[in-house]
Amino acid sequence: MDMANQARIKETAEKYGTDKVVVILGGAEAESAGLTAETVIAGDPTYAGPLTNVALGLPVYHIFELKDLIDPQVYEDQISMMEMVLNVEEIITEMSDIRSQYQDG
């Protein structure tokens, strides 16, 4: 997760409160999505950015996980093509694993 986005997330969480902020990801791979999720929950695991040792505990979801909540036509237009080429199952499993590791699931 790049430094600028870590800073933005940190500022946003401080301004609005960690109970009001949600992070939505579009990562292409389970590993990168998982790392980003870990960063906004438990802090930067690479100890490089503004979220180092800052455990915001933010709710974080991959857009694939929210399919049932999204208008079907919009999902079809915006997401369905990438859904065919990316490993959706692996990404959803990784997101769920990371959340249950740090949060209630």
Partner: protein
């Protein structure tokens, strides 16, 4: 899993991926779910 109600009063930060789902596509979707989108970004992990 979360419900639409969960997002109703939330501030949403979108971190898209150039090789996955780009930020603007996620934003279009989230506009149909609820909450207020604060920022949309598209990262490149390469």
């Amino acid at each position: 899993m979360v419900s639409k109600e969960f997002f109703a009063d939330k501030k949403i930060c979108i971190l898209g991926d150039r090789d996955g789902i780009p930020g603007p596509a996620i934003a279009e979707c989230m506009q149909t779910v609820g909450g207020e989108i604060l920022f949309t970004s598209t990262e490149c992990f390469v």
